[in-house]
Symmetry: C2
C-alpha cells in the first residue's frame, strides 16, 4: 500500500464476478451461459455474473449471482483468476473476478430467477460467440478444471451422491478427452481411499448390476 494515493482520490473501477458453472449432461461437459438482454453485446451469450455489492465478499457475490441466474445453491465454488484489461468492457473499466462452480445433474433448474432471461447449457466444445473476454475466461477455467482432476477429488462436484465406477471414469474421460483403462482406473481410484462401496447396486438394468460408490467425505482435498 503506497502512501502516495489517497483511497478516495482516484476514479474507481467497477468490480464484477463471473461464474463458470460446469456440469456433465448427455455425456458432454457443458457450461451455463446467459443471453444478454442489454448493451453492450446485446443478444450475445455470456457467463452469468454481475457487479459485486459494496458490502458483500467476492465469494458471496459469486454465490448470489449464480443463484439468481440459475437457482443453484450450495455447490462447489472456487475463485479462478481476475481479469482486468482496461478495455475488456467497452462501457467503463470493469475488473472481473472469475469463479468456477461444479454442479451435478440434478442440482440446477434454470430460469428460477425473476427475470426470465435466456439461459442454457452449452457444450464447451461448441460454444457460440461470447461477450467481452468470456471466451478467454472459459479457456482458463477449462484448463484449471483439467489440471485439478489430476491432483484433487474435485470430480465429486459433478457427481450425484452415489455413482458407479464406470460413471466416475466417464467423467474423467469426458473432461480429459482421453480413454482410460478400466482396471488401472479402478485400482488407482480405490487406492486413494476416498470412495467406498455403498453395498447397494444399480437395479432394473439388463446386465450385471454395478456397485454404487460414495465419497467418504464431501470436501475437496488434494490426493497426491
Amino acid at each position: 500500500m503506497s502512501n502516495k494515493y489517497d483511497v478516495t482520490q482516484y476514479d474507481r473501477p467497477s468490480v464484477s464476478v463471473d461464474v463458470l458453472l460446469f456440469t456433465i449432461e448427455e455425456g458432454e461437459l457443458k457450461i451455463l451461459l446467459i443471453k444478454r438482454n442489454e448493451e453492450p453485446f446485446l443478444g450475445t451469450w455470456a457467463l452469468p455474473g454481475g457487479f459485486v455489492r459494496i458490502e458483500e465478499s467476492l465469494d458471496d457475490a459469486a454465490k448470489r449471482e449464480l443463484f439468481e441466474e440459475s437457482g443453484v445453491k450450495n455447490i462447489y465454488l472456487e475463485q479462478l483468476f481476475t481479469f482486468g484489461a482496461p478495455k475488456r468492457d467497452p462501457r467503463t473499466r470493469v475488473i472481473t473476478v472469475t469463479y468456477m462452480a461444479l454442479a451435478g445433474k440434478s442440482e440446477w433448474k434454470l430460469s428460477s430467477s425473476g427475470d426470465a432471461q435466456d439461459a442454457a447449457f452449452f457444450k464447451v466444445d461448441g460454444l457460440p460467440k461470447l461477450a467481452f473476454d468470456h471466451a478467454e475466461i472459459v479457456k482458463y477455467g477449462l484448463e484449471r478444471l483439467r489440471n485439478k482432476l489430476g491432483y484433487t477429488n474435485i470430480v465429486l462436484g459433478l457427481l450425484p451422491g452415489a455413482f458407479t465406477l464406470t460413471e466416475l471414469q466417464k467423467v474423467y474421460e469426458i473432461i480429459l478427452k482421453t480413454k482410460i483403462d478400466k482396471r488401472n482406473f479402478r485400482k488407482k481410484i480405490l487406492s486413494t481411499g476416498l470412495i467406498s462401496a455403498s453395498g447397494k447396486k444399480l437395479e432394473g438394468i439388463a446386465h450385471r448390476p454395478a456397485m454404487l460408490y460414495t465419497f467418504k467425505n464431501k470436501k475437496i482435498v488434494i490426493t497426491d
Copy 2:
C-alpha cells in the same frame, strides 16, 4: 453479467494490487515489506502495493508498484489470488489483487523510489506483525511457490544467469524445507533438459570448482 445492475448505479470498491517479492538471501527465503507511513496500520509492515489506476491493467499496476517501491524491473510476476472481504481494509471497501514476484539477489536495490520509505527483506519464517490481511496473503503465496517448484521451472526467477547445481539444489531445499539427495537431484534436473552446462567453472575457491549451468530459455514452463 446481470441486466439488473447499471454499471454506474452502485458504489464501487477501490481496487489495489499487492505484491509478494520473494528472493533468496543468506540461505533464507525472504520477502519485501514496506513500513507504512500513514494510517491505518501506521508504522506496521505491509506488502508493497497500491491502487490500480483507472487506465492500467492489473499486471501493469503490479509492475509499477513493485518498481516504485523496490526499483525492481523485468522480473517474473504472476497473479495469485484476489482478496475481497468487506472489512479487510478498515477505511473503505478495498479489493486487492495479489501477485507473486521472484528476484535474484542482484536484481533489487531498495529505496530507489523517491519517497525514502522503510523497506526491507524479511525471512518468511520470522515475519513481523503485518497490516491488513497480508499475513494470509503471504501464507497463500508461499504455498503457491512451494507447489510450483514441483511442476515448473519457476526457480529460475530466483537464480542468477549462471549457477552451480549445488546452488540450484539449495534453493529447492530452502523453499521446501527438506534435504534432497544430491545424486538423485542432479539426475532429475538434468533429465528435464531445461538446463545446460555453460562450460565455465567457478574460480578462486578452495576446493574442486563447480560447473556453471544456465537455463536454456528464460520462460517459465511446466516440466511434467
